[in-house]
């Protein structure tokens, strides 16, 4: 089995699972309890928070635990809207965001907020001048993803940060769900960003856990109110086994990050160089530095993405149509649509997404299967 769908989710690391289990068995007190069991849990919670903060070179009280990327995105966007609605009702994002961002924005639009979607170029990248032009006196939030989940474009985060330095009151959010551990941490954790969303299961932590970075002094309203956990900003008894597991997974992820990034880039390059030699292949991802090392999106003209996915699956290779979220809806990729790619091509797109555990041997195996499938597809796409 070859798993090339790591942007959908990753396998929980064995040692992370071990931590999860040990904490579940031995440190199961409620961190809010006064007694020693609660105290022990509280200490582990805070030590996990500190480890995550240290790994990102931020302060422990700037880390808030969530249930994952969707909650993080929802919280920052709606929390900003609630907190700052008196100052303005204009929010800016890109036209290629994950649905967690896009649909949060849509919901706000229904409530009377005004949303600007920045267009992207043929590589799926926004133009910073467009951002500059979109900013208004009533703008309260700019939300930009670090790495596009469908084709792997890295957005110009540092340039956006420079623009926003002139507007210190605007909240700047980066959705880094696909971005962490991919060699761009300095661009994500830049000196202007206010909020960053992370999701644990994209880096070998369990499902249902994530966190946001929230810059000291910035305020967003809570979405989940209740018992007052997480400084009264995100209530709900802390998911300690998953939090400890995630702290460990993040440490493992960032250990020797450069080497891991190089490994993924090498696998991507080997596949890219192979498949792009074929006439009916249209690549959307590129090899240059403006693209993530782990995502390769391409189309085979005249074959539906779904068909390609299942054909590879029959050979034990797991890839996806452009994103796991949209794959069952039979819609064209929203990123490719925003790039004005014709639907006859965008519905033929598939995504290979890698992890540092993937090898060049797997790439070779993929290429071999590709050759065979390409041959078979020629029966149906001769005239495409």
């Amino acid at each position: 089995m070859i798993y090339f769908d790591n942007s959908a989710t990753t396998k929980v690391d064995d040692t992370v699972l071990d931590t999860y289990q040990k904490v579940s068995e031995k440190i199961w007190g409620n961190p809010s309890s006064l007694h020693a069991m609660g105290e022990t849990s509280f200490n582990l919670l805070e030590q996990s928070r500190k480890q995550i903060a240290d790994l990102l070179s931020v302060k422990p009280h700037e880390i808030f635990f969530t249930s994952g990327g969707t909650e993080g995105d929802n919280w920052v966007i709606k929390g900003t809207a609630m907190e700052k609605r008196a100052y303005g009702k204009h929010l800016i994002t890109t036209s290629v965001e994950h649905p967690a961002v896009k649909n949060s924005m849509e919901q706000l639009a229904q409530l009377g907020f005004d949303i600007t979607y920045l267009p992207v170029d043929s590589e799926g990248r926004i133009n910073v001048q467009d951002l500059k032009d979109a900013i208004r006196p009533d703008t309260i939030l700019v939300s930009i993803m670090a790495i596009n989940n469908e084709i792997g474009t890295i957005q110009p985060l540092l340039e956006a940060a420079e623009v926003l330095k002139e507007y210190p009151k605007i909240h700047f959010h980066i959705d880094a769900v696909q971005g962490i551990g991919k060699g761009i941490q300095t661009a994500i954790m830049n000196d202007r960003v206010d909020f960053v969303t992370f999701s644990g299961h994209k880096f070998h932590a369990p499902r249902g856990i994530g966190f946001i970075y929230s810059r000291e002094g910035r305020r967003i309203a809570p979405l989940l109110t209740g018992g007052g956990q997480e400084k009264n900003l995100r209530s709900g008894t802390e998911n300690l086994p998953a939090i400890a597991g995630m702290a460990k997974a993040l440490r493992l992820l960032l250990d020797e990050e450069d080497q891991k990034v190089a490994q993924q880039a090498a696998v991507k390059e080997r596949i890219y160089n192979h498949v792009t030699a074929f006439e009916k292949v249209v690549p959307f991802s590129k090899l240059e530095s403006g693209f993530a090392p782990h995502i390769l999106c391409f189309a085979i003209k005249g074959v539906r993405g779904e068909t390609i996915v299942h054909a590879f699956e029959s050979h034990g290779i797991y890839i996806s149509t452009t994103s796991a979220c949209s794959s069952k809806k039979q819609q064209a990729s929203s990123t490719l649509t925003a790039m004005h790619i014709d639907t006859t091509i965008s519905t033929s797109a598939v995504r290979v997404s890698l992890d540092s555990a993937n090898t060049l041997q797997e790439a070779d195996e993929f290429n071999k299967v590709f050759d065979q499938l390409y041959q078979e597809f020629s029966k149906i796409n001769k005239n495409s």
Binding site: T19, T40, N43, Q47
Partner: protein, 405 residues
């Protein structure tokens, strides 16, 4: 940038006349203490500056420690290079690449104590400036108030380059003012008061009253961890824990509600005075801020202070709570202080303590308890611990957890 040494400049102590030597020696000792965990670091205190030679130690870690040593005005991380123009150029270029942003101005400021070196200060300024300009055509030289001043010091043992001046903690070296006893509760104010006392050169011993079973082990651990935070400014501090439950029970049993707090405070003060006498303390420090709570009115101070004529210094007496909180956040004690554990001041607190206790009545009611015996028993139960900078007490499982994480 891998710096080779850090040059430390003194603050107020430069003006202290004949005490100067003692001050410098004490500061040198304090710097050594705070850098003790870095095996390869050497500290050389001189008349005008102290040189901290890094010998390969990570400069950013050393800098973080030095920021907390009182008596340092500022310091500069320096790069030592061979005594050739090429070496100076190479290092200067590397430093400027890191620091010189588009539009910033700079100047070169050379000092030459080694007059045998062939290039004089003017030539060095001009040639190195020209060299930098060649590589950064977008930047300009500016003599008055440039954004970056690159200092070049030509000494007999090498050429030293520096371009940053980092502010130190100011104040006077801890220990130069003598020893004081700090009444450390665990709240927000007392650690700040302790910090301010240390800033003026006081070697502070932390006195903490604890009342098991009314107060928890966690409250004691918290006071110890707070002491660890303050120890960062002195290398280490002595933590003196005084059992207080019997005294509180006795007062509660025998004295009227309205005077519980006043009499408790008098007993605490007596205990601290005894400890000071035994241990060579010259004054008592506490975190009282005028008008903040019932015990902190001037009438209360009068009634409490009645038991001693040893000076009681209240560094935060006239500060607003918000000002105190700002300092607490700065010195990283705030988050600890607000952890909600009962301390000995909050248990047995009467619902309505007298804000204007009468001195004569206080003395009268206090006769109902055996002051002498209670004091002796409490002093017999005193425990003293030496606490190091940033030592942890709250999370006893840290190492076990580190395995998990």
């Amino acid at each position: 940038m891998e710096y080779t040494e850090i040059m430390v400049r003194y603050g107020e102590l430069s003006t202290k006349g004949k005490n100067r030597k003692d001050f410098i020696a004490r500061l040198g000792g304090n710097i050594r203490k705070s850098l003790r965990s870095f095996e390869n670091v050497e500290v050389h205190p001189n008349r005008d500056r102290t040189h901290v030679v890094l010998n390969g130690t990570d400069s950013s870690k050393v800098i973080n420690r030095l920021k907390k040593v009182f008596g340092i005005q500022n310091f500069s991380p320096m790069l030592k290079v061979e005594k050739t123009m090429e070496a100076v150029q190479k290092a200067a270029l590397e430093m400027m690449q890191e620091q010189l942003k588009p539009g910033m101005t700079f100047k070169i400021n050379t000092r030459r104590s080694d007059k045998d070196f062939s290039i004089n200060t003017d030539t060095m300024n001009r040639e190195l400036g020209g060299f930098i300009l060649d590589h950064f055509p977008e930047n300009d030289v500016k003599m008055k108030n440039p954004d970056i001043t690159l200092r070049v010091e030509i000494r007999s043992n090498g050429i030293f380059l520096t371009s940053a001046v980092i502010n130190g903690a100011g104040g006077l070296p801890v220990g130069t003012a003598g020893k004081g006893m700090m009444m450390l509760s665990g709240g927000i104010d007392s650690p700040v008061a302790g910090y301010l006392g240390m800033k003026r050169g006081v070697e502070m011993e932390m006195v903490h009253f604890f009342s098991p079973p009314y107060t928890s082990e966690q409250a004691l651990a918290k006071a110890k961890e707070l002491s660890g935070k303050l120890a960062a400014y002195a290398g280490s501090v002595q933590f003196i824990q005084v059992p207080f439950a019997e005294i509180q029970e006795t007062i509660k049993e025998n004295c009227p509600e309205g005077y519980l707090m006043t009499i408790q405070r008098r007993m605490m003060l007596r205990l601290v005075v005894e400890l000071a006498k035994k241990r060579g303390g010259l004054a008592i420090f506490n975190g009282e801020s005028l008008g903040q709570v019932a015990s902190q009115t001037m009438e209360s101070m009068l009634a409490i202070n009645d038991v001693t004529n040893m000076p009681i210094i209240r560094p935060v007496v006239s500060m607003d709570k918000n000002e105190i909180i700002d300092i607490a956040k700065d010195i990283d004690t705030y988050d600890l202080s607000i952890m909600p554990f009962e301390d000995c001041c909050t248990i047995f607190a009467p619902p309505s303590p007298k804000t204007r206790p009468d001195l004569e009545k206080t003395r009268y009611y206090e006769q109902r308890i055996d002051v002498e015996g209670l004091l002796n028993r409490a002093l017999a139960g005193v425990e003293i611990t030496n606490i190091h900078a940033e030592e942890q007490f709250m999370n006893q499982d840290e190492e076990v957890f580190a395995e998990l994480l």
